[in-house]
């Protein structure tokens, strides 16, 4: 478990980092928290010729509340984001999702943006980004572009990022008024990648009808999924138990191809995703009603 040899660069500015990526292209890998990349290097599953270490670039470790969203910089550690007042007040779902990642030692190093760029389909944060409609800011040789989370995640460990581009910021919309939220997952042990997981938000109007419903699924496909049919089943009505049951069935209907691995079969994932959707929606409903 020793990595093959590689060249190491430690740029101190973002422009330098992007220039290095432009120079080395797909031979290069970006190192931030290293919680996925370093084990993959040691197992020789990743064999980049070049590592571009972002950790010396100044000004990327921020968490900011601005323009109706929470902006998280590329070097903000998960632990810092989890604890940030901006997150607790404006987007508590994000903080709660981070709490389910690994253990504090992992979160002290791991970054929110790194988890998004790595795009493990069983990770919490990509599903949070998709469900909330996060915007992802990408820097490249020709400047910056903003990608919707929905378009960013392509498939297993694959995202809409060119070899010379860098994900520099994630913008999570703040929770709207009268909105409840929840995250529920089954992991084999606390902190493991989920066997199946659900994030949900539910926004109610003054009469208690759902005006917005967002459901993100993780661990059940090759990328985080938005459960759109289930969301539609909830809109325009009070989210009573029958509506939630309908959403549950819609989720199960959409997951006929859920993957099988050593931890669970597709059949289990499909079953339990339904259970978790029901639980997450009930909890979100409770929070939404309390917030109203």
């Amino acid at each position: 478990m020793k990595p093959p040899s590689f060249d190491y660069f430690d740029p101190t500015t973002l422009d330098e980092a992007v220039a290095l990526l432009a120079q080395h292209g797909s031979d290069a890998k970006v190192l931030a928290g290293g919680q996925s990349l370093v084990p993959m290097l040691n197992l020789r599953l990743a064999r980049p010729a070049v590592l571009v270490d972002l950790n010396w670039v100044a000004g990327l470790d921020y968490v900011r509340a601005e323009n109706g969203h929470v902006a998280v910089g590329a070097l903000a550690r998960q632990r810092a984001v989890e604890r940030a007042a901006e997150v607790r007040q404006r987007q508590p779902l994000l903080g709660e999702a981070i709490r389910l990642i690994g253990h504090p030692a992992v979160r002290n190093r791991g970054t929110v943006v790194g988890s998004l760029a790595h795009a493990d389909p069983a990770a919490e944060l990509p599903a949070v980004a998709v469900a909330l409609g996060a915007e992802l800011v990408v820097a490249g040789p020709s400047g910056r572009r903003v990608v919707a989370a929905d378009d960013f995640f392509v498939s297993y460990l694959t995202v809409d990022l060119a070899p010379d581009e860098l994900l520099v910021e994630a913008r999570f919309p703040a929770l709207p008024a009268r909105t409840g939220w929840a995250i529920a997952e089954v992991a084999r042990r606390f902190g493991d990648f989920a066997v199946a997981g659900v994030v949900a938000t539910l926004t109610l109007d003054a009469q208690g009808s759902a005006t917005d419903a967002r459901i993100g699924l993780f661990g059940v496909a090759d990328r985080p999924l938005r459960a759109t049919a289930a969301e539609r089943a909830l809109l325009g009505q009070p989210p009573d138990d029958a509506r939630i049951a309908a959403a549950t069935e819609a989720v199960r209907a959409a997951l006929v191809d859920a993957p099988t691995d050593v931890h669970a079969s597709g059949a289990y994932r499909r079953h339990v995703a339904g259970v978790l959707v029901g639980r997450a929606l009930s909890e979100a409903r409770q929070r939404a009603q309390a917030a109203g």
């Binding site: 478990m1 020793k2 990595p3 093959p4 040899s5 084990p39 197992l43 020789r44 253990h103 089954v186 084999r188 042990r189 606390f190 902190g191 493991d192 990648f193 066997v195 050593v262 931890h263 669970a264 079969s265 059949a267 289990y268 079953h271 339990v272 259970v275 978790l276």
Partner: protein, 785 residues
């Protein structure tokens, strides 16, 4: 015969803090990986990527030319070395020779095929990738029953079968017992393959002095003297010119009580290259190629009368031994141990068992804490839960009814084990009381009304310990087993204890010092315990099978007793008193009734070594004694109760409580006993719920990292409550019994039993472990194929 008592002073039985811990806790302990020698080079093994394949050829030319490479060796280079074989002399047990580096065939993924030596480990791994092995993949067999079938792919063609042992033993009249039974209950259980995961993986380093013809070999081993004997034999070096040193060893659990091909290869290379060679196993290698454990397929039948009296048992225990019937104790190490302890602490006069050992295309199976016993105990206890449910009996009451009472001990089981003493019923009752069993049953009923599923698992156990010659025979592995200690009071009055047993986390530097300190009446801080170096330790077998408290403790007590007599003899002459009238305590010998007539141990020692006037002519001036001990068999016991809550929608399990009542006879240090129980139960929780070495049909290990091989962590292991009962053994020195394994022997049954008890309203059916969330849901029919 009541054995010698150990004098009791300030230390035995006290929660003394472990004297070895400061160096472990501050990082000052030196493990194998910390050792460095001038000109040292590093080994990386090339391992088979196939579960079963013929090796048609190996091209090492590119690897030999890679940067920093010193040597690349294959089977052709080490063909003169003899193969590894198990040492068990049992009729009908077939031998499966294992080459140090695979020859024409590989039999499990991870088997060493070549070894690369380079200036550092990085370069060695780079070059290992360049070794070109021409494999012809063969059909693999990864299930023990499939391996027994006609036409199964054969691992050893010359044996004509994958079955290396298949014998049926009958005790009493089992056919009559089953004819008389009102009911016969059956259970099949495929226990999961899991493994010891010591924090420190394997590793070794060899250094050869060509001038002296001496090999010094450091290894993370549990058995330094046995390793020395083997290395001398394999390499043809005279045994007195081999020195084995085990530095700080970070856990063994049985995985390091064996001879590994990697050890022989590294020792060979150190001599061959005339340079120190070091190999530190990484975790991936440990999961792939260190011994696995615990996997059996057990079919069990119980003959029972309507009132719940157990009349007899029948079992078939099939051990899945992996690619070789390994040299720990052969592929029988699991099924033979399971079969012979199957009656447990219950009254079973009639029993038949078929013991089968099979080779398959998986890593070899060796000893792992409570080897064999975990699987057999788990199968029997889960069957007993099912019997109690079927008969409408409380599962604890059913057990108590069939359990041996104190007044029935000593008791010879139908398989020939002699239970010397114990507190079986008392331990069960104490454990039930600790959890307030009746109140828990009421709470269980109440919660079920709310759709919540709480369960209670009850697992009383007897644990063979003190692995000397007698118990080895009783538990089915006839192999002589004994040890030595040398106790010396030095001229300054300080005490050196050198033992052949080995400590790899158990705290022997503390417990063995407690025994010496009490026998010699000195302060614990004045005693140092040496072990783990064949140049300084007396000869012995090392540490495994819960043997050190009894055997190591016994040897220290016997040797210290002899030294105590020497001290009293010298003191009698110095004080002009009869040794029988002397009192030895607090580092001083004084005359009974006249405490001002006294000499310190240091004064007595100085006199003994340097004052010829206190000795008779020809008397030994040194205050030292070496004694061996090969104890009679002794058996510990206890009871584990687990309370679990199960989410019947997701299949997830939460452990609410774990209580362990332990009776290991004379308790040397309750804190260390607690630690053994905590660790063993954590491993049992892993085995019941999380840990599983999964292979695909071609023999690929699918759980090759700690991402997928799931050890329980602090978030999965609840607080563990330990209570002590103390029934001293009537047959061992000091009444000591061993106790290292009971927690892993009995806790998987308690955990799985609690889960299945919680789900009793669904009539759960389980034939395999671990109880993953999916297996839980399938057991109650919530998902189906």
């Amino acid at each position: 015969m009541v054995q010698m008592a150990i004098p009791r002073g300030k230390w035995i039985g006290v929660r003394v803090k472990r004297v070895e811990d400061p160096r472990f806790l501050t990082g000052d302990a030196r493990y194998l990986a910390d050792l460095r020698l001038p000109r040292m080079v590093h080994a990386a093994f090339v391992r088979s990527p196939y579960g079963h394949a013929r090796v048609r050829g190996i091209d090492v030319s590119a690897a030999r030319q890679a940067p920093g490479v010193v040597a690349v060796l294959t089977h052709a280079d080490v063909a003169a070395l003899p193969p590894l074989l198990d040492p068990i002399p049992l009729e009908g047990l077939k031998k499966t020779p294992q080459r140090v580096l695979a020859g024409d065939k590989v039999r499990f993924a991870g088997e060493p095929v070549a070894v690369v030596i380079a200036e550092d480990r990085y370069l060695a791994e780079d070059a290992a990738e360049l070794v070109q092995v021409d494999y012809e993949p063969l059909p693999a067999v990864t299930d023990a029953e499939a391996a027994m079938a006609d036409g199964a792919p054969l691992l050893f063609e010359d044996l004509g079968s994958n079955v290396v042992y298949d014998q049926t033993y009958r005790f009493g009249d089992p056919d009559a017992a089953f004819r008389q039974a009102d009911r016969v209950f059956k259970k099949r259980l495929h226990t999961n393959r899991f493994m010891a995961s010591p924090m420190e993986t394997r590793g070794c380093m060899g250094s050869y002095d060509p001038g002296l013809g001496e090999l010094t070999f450091w290894s993370s081993t549990q058995m330094p003297h046995m390793l020395r004997f083997s290395l001398a034999l394999f390499l043809g070096i005279p045994e007195q010119k081999v020195r084995v040193i085990s530095p700080a060893v970070g856990g063994g659990f049985g995985q390091k009580m064996t001879l590994y091909p990697e050890e022989i290869a590294v020792a060979f290379l150190a001599r061959h290259l005339r340079r120190p060679v070091k190999w530190v196993e990484d975790r991936r290698e440990n999961l792939l190629a260190a011994t696995h454990g615990k996997e059996q397929i057990i079919e069990l039948e119980a003959a029972v009368s309507n009132d719940g009296t157990l009349l007899g048992l029948r079992s078939v225990c099939i051990g899945d031994g992996g690619g070789y019937s390994f040299n720990t104790a052969s592929a029988l190490v699991e099924p033979q141990a399971a079969a012979l302890l199957m009656p447990g602490l219950y009254r079973v006069a009639h029993y038949e068992t078929r013991v089968v050992a099979v080779v398959t295309n998986k890593a070899p199976v060796g000893a792992y804490r409570a080897v064999g016993w975990t699987a057999g105990h788990t199968a029997r206890e889960l069957l007993f839960d099912e019997i109690a449910r079927e008969l409408g009996l409380d599962p604890a009451a059913f057990r108590e009814k069939n359990m041996l009472r104190a007044d029935e001990l000593p008791y010879t089981t139908c398989t020939g084990m002699v239970y010397d003493s114990g507190s079986y019923v008392e331990s069960l009752q104490a454990a039930l009381k600790a959890v307030d069993y009746d109140a828990l049953r009421a709470r269980q009923a109440e919660l079920r009304q709310q759709g919540r599923y709480l369960g209670i698992g009850v697992s009383p156990y007897v644990e063979p310990t003190a692995w000397g010659s007698e118990i080895a025979l009783q538990v089915g592995f006839p192999f002589p087993s004994h040890d030595n200690a040398r106790v010396s009071v030095e001229p300054s009055g300080k005490v050196t204890v050198a033992v052949s047993t080995h400590s790899h986390g158990q705290g022997h530097e503390t417990t063995l010092a407690q025994i010496a300190a009490d026998t010699l009446g000195v302060d614990l801080a004045d005693v140092t315990v040496l072990f783990g170096d064949t140049a300084t330790a007396p000869w012995g077998m090392g540490t495994y099978a819960s043997r050190t408290a009894v055997i190591g403790g016994g040897t220290v007590a016997l040797a210290a007793q002899e030294v105590r007599q020497k001290i009293l003899t010298i003191a009698g002459r110095l004080l002009e008193a009869d040794p029988a009238d002397l009192v030895l305590a607090d580092g001083t010998v004084s005359v009974q009734g006249a405490p001002d007539r006294s000499k310190t141990i240091a004064e007595i020692a100085i006199a003994s070594y340097f004052d010829n006037s206190v000795r008779a002519a020809g008397e030994d001036p040194t205050l030292t004694a070496t004694r061996f001990y090969d104890p009679k068999a002794t058996y510990s016991n206890g009871c584990i109760v687990v309370v679990a809550e199960v989410d019947a929608e997701t299949g997830q399990v939460r452990l609410a409580r774990v209580v362990s009542v332990e009776d290991c006879g004379t308790v040397l240090n309750p804190m260390i006993v607690d630690g053994q129980i905590h660790g063993a139960i954590a491993q049992g929780i892993g085995g019941a719920l999380y840990e599983h070495l999964v292979y695909d049909d071609s023999g690929q290990l699918l759980t090759g990292t700690f991402m997928d091989y799931l050890l329980p962590t602090t978030t999965e292991v609840p607080p563990i409550q330990v209570e002590h009962l103390e029934t001293p053994s009537p047959v061992t020195v000091g009444g000591i019994k061993g106790m290292g394994e009971g927690g892993l022997l009995a806790s998987p049954a308690a955990v799985a039993g609690a889960v299945l008890d919680a789900l009793a309203p669904f009539n759960p059916q389980v034939e395999a472990l671990p109880l993953s969330p999916e297996r839980v849901l399938r057991a109650i029919g919530k998902i189906a194929d």
